[in-house]
């Protein structure tokens, strides 16, 4: 049997033409491992024969495929997208300048050729920005074609280049990729934080400077002839007599100036704001010659990061205090007696999460094989501290030494469990993934970097020395496929429970033990055979030369009926497994398909891996055992109930035809209530004999208060009321009623029967009673 060679691939999926490879689509992968057979010694890298899982068959030279790599680390904001794949950038260009159709076909082909050349260069280790790579590669293609720099090819590529709207370093999938990607995203997230920080600080600096400036302008120094002249400038200086101006201003009354204490405090606040080292100066910031360099927040050990945090804590406290003092001063609400003691006792216990979030987070990059293994423990403690620390743990080797059981002590395998343990910390953002998935995990990475608390990123690079023949992209993708290093995220910020926080859906076919893919091959009669092949942990392990001695390719003549695929073997009960031997499908250098029998030790390792995967599935809500048990109990109860009902039906009279359930009564719509003027209960009618005012309707027109401001007064709302009836005459009351613009004064009956002209007054008061 021959696995389908890329050149004879089935229709619609031609890798040579640049068919897209999705992460985890292992059907398209072909691999070429060439390494000597491993001896019995537990050596380092590559000591076994070349073995390729059959699903790798279609992946030959990755540089000829269009897939997620290389990546562009986008400069600047990038519209919130800090990573782009070269493929997506080129697709964007083609959509803009070469929409589908015959007219643009030539341009499309040239641009795709250019992309392919860039990809090949990057895979050879040439690193540069996208714009420079484009320029260089375009020049090479033009030279190769023998055209001039103004020829048709150059014109086409220039036209396409105008649609290139992003730039940044281009990187391939290799051992440095996790570090570079995470540092890039961290830097971009900090940059947007820095912008907001600077905006706030610059605004405070401006306002405080304005206060000092305004105070200075009231001082004698500002009134000198020289100061006035420099304030006006040279354009109109001949229009002024500055000496006279100075004399006039100096003679004027002294205005309120800031106290020396306050001036000193504002200057001290300005000094701290302008000399902070947490973020570098932006375009709007005043640059001072003596300004110290900003702090670095990227470390290669947790100890160094924690030390730096502790060293900078006093400065952070000072800065937070100063921010508050600045706002108080700007509002003119700083009170020495009240606030000095508050700030004197301000310490780290008063620092809130919001205040900590002002400052950059700390990025710690740890790496398997290059970092002290004790850093793993320290990383855990650092995450548990709740500080805004982002820890990247890169592992290059998941499997560890050739003890096939899950290694218990090596750093590499430990990191696979570190992420699962970190979930238990509850408030730590945890994201585990493989190198191959970094592009698609962009949003998860950004969310983690923006998360205000601690975050852990564990990334398997795929650059395992003992699997040197497998590109890191392929190996890291295989680790995800085989559940050896599954992807998952735990985000405490999205919800209160595990169901919302924990997510494993980024894994291929997350609901099953092993993802299953299609394998097409030709049999001896050159007939196409389609087969569904699972990619198991054993397939992943087989790529590592250290484990080659546990795998034995079986020639066709030795095939037996008791040989079953490894995935099926894993499903057998222990007693039945003794009757069978497990195999995986592999291909050799010529893409000839064969069965490779695997040792029981590898099967045990696969069982452990499957078990760990199922635990992870449970956390992610898949095949959750609690839910399944509850479901089973409910099902049993439901079945019993139904059985009982059936039994009752059989023993009872033939039942009447079941009435259709009454249609749910639909309540008639409530008619919109007409809005009636609010009717209050009628107040007690005022005694018509007594004088009174409808105070609430008073328009403050001063008519009544001008007549008698002891009889009529204003309340706290500047509306009139009768303050002292005895303070004026009935005549004044009637006059006020007549003058009132809104006729709210009701004079009542006169109190003094001896007042002159009472009859006339009563008649005049009539309309107002």
């Amino acid at each position: 049997m021959t696995a389908t060679h890329p050149e004879t691939a089935h229709a619609g999926d031609n890798a040579r033409q640049g068919g897209e490879v999705r992460n985890g689509d292992m059907d398209q992968v072909a691999l070429d491992i060439a390494s000597p057979r491993m001896t019995d010694a537990d050596a380092g890298p590559a000591v076994g024969p070349a073995l390729r899982p059959a699903l790798f068959a279609r992946y030959g030279d990755l540089s000829k495929l269009r897939y997620d790599f290389p990546l562009v680390l986008v400069d600047g904001d990038g519209g919130g997208r800090f990573l782009q794949s070269l493929t997506s950038v080129v697709d964007g260009i083609l959509r803009e300048v070469a929409p589908p159709g015959a007219a643009a076909e030539s341009l499309r082909r040239q641009v795709l050729r250019l992309e392919s050349e860039i990809r090949a260069q990057v895979s050879r280790g040439e690193s540069d920005s996208l714009s420079l790579l484009w320029k260089r590669t375009a020049a090479d293609l033009i030279t190769e074609k023998g055209e001039s720099v103004f020829g048709p090819l150059a014109t086409k590529l220039d036209h396409a280049r105008e649609a290139l709207h992003v730039d940044g370093a281009v990187i391939d999938c290799d051992e440095d990729t996790p570090y570079r990607v995470l540092v890039h995203i961290w830097t971009a997230v900090q940059a947007s934080k820095a912008k907001a920080f600077r905006k706030k600080v610059d605004a405070l600096v401006m306002k405080l400077s304005d206060i000092l400036k305004a105070d200075f302008m009231k001082s004698d120094k500002a009134h000198t002839q020289e100061a006035l002249q420099s304030a006006v400038g040279t354009s109109f200086e001949s229009a002024f007599d500055f000496a006279a101006m100075s004399r006039v201003l100096s003679r004027g009354p002294s205005e309120d100036r800031l106290s020396e204490d306050r001036r000193r405090r504002i200057r001290a606040v300005l000094q701290v704001l302008q000399s902070q080292r947490f973020y570098g100066p932006g375009r709007a910031s005043e640059r001072r010659p003596d300004q110290p360099e900003p702090y670095s927040f990227v470390f290669d050990s947790c100890a160094a990061a924690l030390d730096a945090f502790r060293d900078r804590l006093p400065e952070m406290l000072d800065f937070v205090k100063v921010l508050t003092i600045a706002e108080l001063e700007i509002q003119n609400k700083y009170r020495t007696a009240l606030h000095d003691p508050v700030f004197a006792h301000f310490d780290e216990s008063d620092l809130s999460e919001d205040q900590l979030a002002l400052f950059p987070s700390y990025l710690v990059c740890l790496r398997d094989g290059r970092t002290d293994p004790a850093e793993t423990l320290r990383a855990f403690e650092t995450l548990a501290s709740g500080l805004p620390v982002k820890v990247l743990v890169q592992t290059d080797d998941i499997l560890g030494t050739t003890s096939p059981e899950p290694p218990r002590s090596s750093f590499g395998a430990g990191s696979a469990r570190l992420a699962a343990m970190a979930v238990g910390l509850n408030d730590t953002y945890v994201f585990q993934t493989a190198n191959a998935n970094l592009y698609r995990a962009h949003d998860r990475l950004v969310t983690g970097m923006r998360y205000e608390g601690p975050a852990l990123f564990t990334v398997y690079s795929g650059a395992t020395p003992s699997a040197a023949g497998v590109p890191p992209y392929l190996l890291s993708a295989a680790a995800t496929e085989s559940r050896a290093f599954p992807t998952f995220v735990y985000d405490p910020a999205v919800g209160p429970d595990l169901a919302t926080r924990f997510d494993i859906t980024d894994n291929p076919q997350a609901t099953v033990d092993w993802p299953v893919h299609d394998l097409f091959y030709e049999d001896e009669a050159l007939q196409r055979i389609d087969e569904k092949v699972p990619f198991t942990h054993v397939d992943f392990v087989a790529c590592d030369a250290r484990y080659a001695r546990y795998c034995e390719p079986a020639p066709r003549a030795n095939w037996r009926d008791d040989m079953i695929p490894a995935a099926d073997y894993l499903k057998l009960a222990p007693e039945r497994s003794l009757e069978h031997s497990a195999y995986i499908l592999t291909v050799d250098a010529g893409n000839a398909l064969s069965r490779t029998v695997v040792d029981d030790k590898l099967m045990n390792a696969a069982r452990h891996c499957a078990d760990a995967w199922r635990r992870l599935q449970e956390l992610g809500g898949v095949n959750n055992s609690y839910a399944n048990r509850l479901l089973a109990r409910e099902r049993v109860a439901w079945e019993e109930q139904k059985a009982q009902e059936l039994a009752e039906l059989h023993t009872a009279e033939p039942p009447a035809p079941e009435a259709a359930p009454p249609a749910e009564a639909v309540a008639p719509p409530i008619p919109a209530a007409a809005v009636e003027p609010a009717e209050a209960e009628e107040p007690e009618p005022a005694n018509p004999d007594e004088a009174w005012i409808e105070t609430a309707r008073c328009t403050t027109c001063d008519e009544c208060t001008q007549i008698n401001n002891r009889m009529f007064a204003y309340n706290e709302n500047k509306q009139a009321f009768i303050a002292d009836l005895g303070a004026g005459t009935y005549s004044q009351m009637v006059e006020a009623a007549e003058s009132c613009q809104v006729s709210i004064i009701h004079p009542g009956k006169p109190r003094d029967p001896s007042e002159p002209n009472l009859e006339d007054l009563i008649a005049r008061a009539g309309p107002f009673i």
Binding site: L328, N332, N717, Q741, V742
Partner: protein
């Protein structure tokens, strides 16, 4: 971005202002019975109820009886040129967006000489409260016809009676793009006036309130039919607008449920002539404010201005050592 500590400390010293804290030493010199008094009282009550710091409050006016108001408020004031209250207020708001800006203007100041500024101020929708004291006459200059004077009014400039129909400030304002708040009040229902001014203040955007006010000196009985017959007042009641208290409801029974978000109905109501509609005619909180749209990513500090200018100049600078190139020397 203020930390909780800052908020706590700021609130500790929130002032406890009373009405008198907003009364300046200058006593109002309006005529007795002038509707401006009612508006002044309503504004002072608003400042007290909202506890606006006097040093953070600005009243901007133009010319006219209305424009005396800043003198009678114990707050910052700018008594400016005729018709220019709105552009000055916009300048204040742009430079100091943290201040509470009120504009008091009259029918002449706003609708005549200031008409151009009025239209664009509505369009810019900057966060301020505009009170149009509409007494339908030029009172300060002793009786000339204004754009809102009724047809037939005999005045010093229209001895045979005003020839034209008056301009309707409400329909004009409702026809301007980006309008976000329009209301009408009358000075003789002070509770409603206060309620409307409060809502106008709380609205984020340019709140335009036309206050029909009496001029006892020159337009003595102009509004008598409406003052004496409450049924001629149409109160626009709505949960999202004003709601009369029961005692006022008994008096002003002519009420209409009017949804302030209904622009078309607002325009119809604004066109009423026999009845005076009182209430919030239109409100749209979604219209953006110009100062928010203009807000940059960073403040225009002297450092930024210097940096940007130098960058621009560098583009055109010839550096001698470079032999004529445009790049600064390394």
């Amino acid at each position: 971005m203020s930390a909780p500590l800052t908020q706590c400390l700021l609130r500790l010293l929130d002032g406890n202002y009373t009405l008198t804290d907003y009364q300046s030493d200058t006593l109002p010199r309006w005529c007795t019975g002038c509707g401006d008094n009612s508006i002044l009282t309503a504004v002072q009550r608003l400042c007290r109820d909202e506890q606006l710091p006097p040093e953070k409050t600005v009243f901007v006016s133009g010319i006219g009886c209305s424009s005396r108001l800043p003198h009678y408020m114990n707050a910052y004031g700018f008594h400016g040129l005729h018709g220019r209250a709105l552009p000055v207020a916009e300048g204040v708001k742009l430079r100091r967006p943290d201040l509470h800006v009120f504009v008091t203007t009259g029918d002449g100041d706003c609708c005549s000489i200031g008409a151009a500024h009025w239209i664009h101020a509505i369009r810019y929708n900057m966060d301020m409260t505009v009170l149009l004291h509409d007494n339908e006459v030029y009172g300060l200059t002793k009786m000339q016809a204004s754009p809102t004077s009724p047809r037939g009014l005999k005045s010093n400039t229209t001895p045979r009676g005003a020839l034209l129909d008056p301009l309707n400030p409400l329909t004009v304002t409702l026809g301007v793009a980006n309008v976000s708040f329009v209301a009408q009040a009358v000075d003789w229902i002070p509770e409603v006036l206060f309620d409307i001014i409060t809502q106008a203040y709380r609205h984020k955007g340019c709140s335009f309130v036309r206050v029909l006010q009496r001029c006892p000196e020159f337009m003595d009985h102009r509004f008598d039919p409406w003052v004496q017959d409450p049924s001629k007042m149409r109160v626009l009641a709505h949960a999202d607008g004003i709601q009369l208290k029961p005692d006022l409801s008994r008096i002003y029974r002519n009420q209409e449920t009017h949804d302030p978000s209904d622009l078309h109905r607002a325009r119809e109501v604004a066109s009423l002539t026999e009845e005076i509609p009182v209430g919030v005619l239109y409100r749209n909180s979604a219209v953006p404010c110009y100062e928010d749209l203009r807000e940059g990513e960073r403040p225009n500090t002297p450092g930024l201005i210097r940096t940007v200018l130098n960058e621009e100049f560098d583009k055109f600078t010839i550096w001698p050592e470079d032999g004529g190139g445009t790049a600064p020397p390394e």
